[in-house]
């Protein structure tokens, strides 16, 4: 088991937003975290990264308990997190953004190899390496954010709403890129609202509603599931 979350509850101050959620990700697997707006999908990713630390329950990575390790230790363990709304460094160049992705020692040592590998995956980024990140389009910024995450040589890549606000063309490109990443042996855990799209890509899915896990399973079993439809269409 690469990532395992056991019975987590998450609170914002005194307000509980996640109730007893457990999930896991296997090596080389693409897993979708689904749910309507405000169901707590991003909160789960942020809890794994320890950006939110008001929590009960345990998080294991590679069979090691990591719940209490601070956020900055995650990349060194092999977890990269692409935050919601890309969050590239707006006033740094594409290349600088990418170099910052390889901050821990091991990633730094292999920085030039990673860079050429990533330019292979995202040729556009190489052409724009000296451009300031905020001058790029949303799709390009999303590519940059994912590429920056990959620079840390993750074993698990967590991506929050990768397709938000992107044109259908860019979405198509990203889907191919996700496939390529998984084929390299990197697991992906991503958050998405578009159920059909997410399930067409992912091996498995978890569906959240109001902070509780409603149903989980293989994508093909979830596509036409009545419970899933009910969560997204309302009762």
């Amino acid at each position: 088991m690469l990532l395992e979350i056991k019975n987590i509850d998450v609170l914002y101050d005194d307000f509980q937003v996640i109730w007893d959620v457990s999930l896991n990700v296997q090596p080389g697997e693409m897993v979708a975290l689904l749910g309507p707006n405000g169901s707590g999908k991003s909160t789960i990713l942020n809890t794994i990264s320890n950006l939110i630390n008001n929590r009960k329950g345990e998080i294991y990575f590679n069979d090691q308990l990591i719940s209490n390790q601070p956020t900055f230790t995650r990349t060194g363990m092999g977890i990269s997190h692409v935050l919601e709304r890309r969050r590239v460094f707006p006033h740094l160049t594409v290349l600088q953004n990418l170099l910052l992705g390889a901050w821990h020692e091991k990633a730094k040592a292999e920085r030039s190899e990673s860079l050429s590998r990533i330019y292979g995956l995202f040729p556009k980024l190489e052409a724009r390496s000296d451009q300031l990140a905020h001058t790029m389009s949303g799709g390009e910024q999303q590519m940059l954010a994912i590429a920056r995450g990959l620079m840390g040589l993750p074993r698990l890549l967590m991506v929050d709403e990768p397709f938000l606000g992107l044109s259908p063309m860019v979405v198509k490109d990203l889907i191919v890129i996700f496939r390529n990443i998984v084929d390299e042996g990197i697991s992906i855990l991503f958050v998405e609202q578009n159920v059909r799209l997410a399930l067409s890509m992912a091996d498995r899915g978890y569906v959240l509603e109001s902070g509780r896990l409603v149903i989980a399973g293989h994508s093909k079993d979830l596509v036409d599931n009545e419970t899933v439809k009910k969560v997204f269409l309302g009762n």
């Binding site: 990264s49 950006l51 601070p70 956020t71 900055f72 230790t73 995650r74 990349t75 060194g76 990269s80 997190h81 935050l83 969050r87 590239v88 460094f89 707006p90 006033h91 740094l92 600088q96 170099l99 910052l100 992705g101 901050w103 821990h104 920056r148 840390g152």
Partner: protein, 288 residues
């Protein structure tokens, strides 16, 4: 009014401007990094001048030679300030942050008055003394070297922030703390580095000013005010903006004093501040 007098005013404006620029850069670095305004910046300048003074008075070290020690002491002071105070108010409301650093300024000043009395002191017979004359323009030697050293420190600061990996990490933390943290850059360490460098800048300026300026417990007040004006004029968080703004302020101060009336020197500077706030609130090089 002769050409020489105007040239004289321009030269001295430039020289003080470079010192303002470095002091402002320290303030701007800290603000840009963590959105906290160091209201104790002037007191830190005062402390650095006293450090330099006592190194001279007790150990006989000329301020020029004690500069590295003064920088190190101030950098340490910055790291400690972060560790014992700022660390705890990072997520606090803005008013609390203001009160914390403003309170620190009162604390430092009161402590200095208690320890050293509010007397005015100065360094007798420093290494840098007297003035040189170039084409009828007199340049005070200590002022001249102070501005050169400050300019050199400014250039080094700029290269550090823009060309080194740690500088890059500082910029990343300044632009998006969470995103940097997620990539493995510990923001607390970056903040401590930022405070160390920010007050290190003040150490350079204070140490060099000890050569020719009176040392007393309220010495930092005006410099801090000018530093705030410089940061607002240059653009919040912009280091290069501080250089231009510092020079502009130095020139306005000395030329305004010469051409209009020297007793209103401060007024001209704050008039600029008001104009900037009204017409270009993001400053010359500001991003916000």
């Amino acid at each position: 009014m002769s050409f020489e007098i105007i040239a004289q005013a321009i030269v001295s404006g430039l020289m003080t401007g470079l010192i303002y620029a470095l002091i402002a850069a320290g303030l701007s670095l800290i603000f840009g990094l963590m959105n906290i305004v160091n209201f104790a910046h002037g007191e830190h300048l005062m402390v650095s001048m006293f450090a330099s003074f006592w190194l001279w008075a007790l150990l006989g070290l000329d301020p020029v030679f004690s500069i590295p020690i003064t920088i190190l002491l101030m950098a340490l002071c910055g790291v400690l300030t972060h560790y014992f105070l700022i660390r705890f108010i990072l997520k606090a409301k803005m008013l609390i942050q203001i009160c914390a650093t403003f309170g620190l300024s009162i604390f430092i000043r009161a402590l200095a008055q208690f320890l050293w009395t509010p007397d005015f002191r100065n360094v007798d017979q420093p290494l840098l003394e007297g003035r040189i004359e170039i084409a009828n323009v007199f340049i005070g030697q200590p002022q001249f070297f102070a501005s050169l050293v400050c300019l050199a420190a400014f250039v080094m600061l700029y290269l550090f922030v823009t060309r080194t990996e740690t500088g890059l990490a500082l910029q990343a933390t300044a632009q998006d703390r969470e995103a940097a943290e997620i990539l493995g850059i510990p923001s607390n360490k970056m903040f401590a580095i930022g405070w160390g460098i920010g007050l290190g800048c003040v150490g350079v300026a204070g140490g060099m000013m000890t050569n020719y300026f009176f040392i007393f417990t309220d010495v930092g007040v005006n410099f801090a005010l000018f530093a705030f004006v410089a940061v607002a004029l240059g653009g919040f968080g912009s280091i290069i903006g501080c250089l231009y703004a510092g020079i502009i302020i130095g020139l306005v101060e000395s030329l305004g004093g010469l051409l209009i009336d020297p007793s209103f020197k401060l007024l001209y500077v704050f008039a600029i501040y008001l104009l900037v706030v009204i017409y270009k609130p993001q400053g010359l090089f500001g991003r916000y």
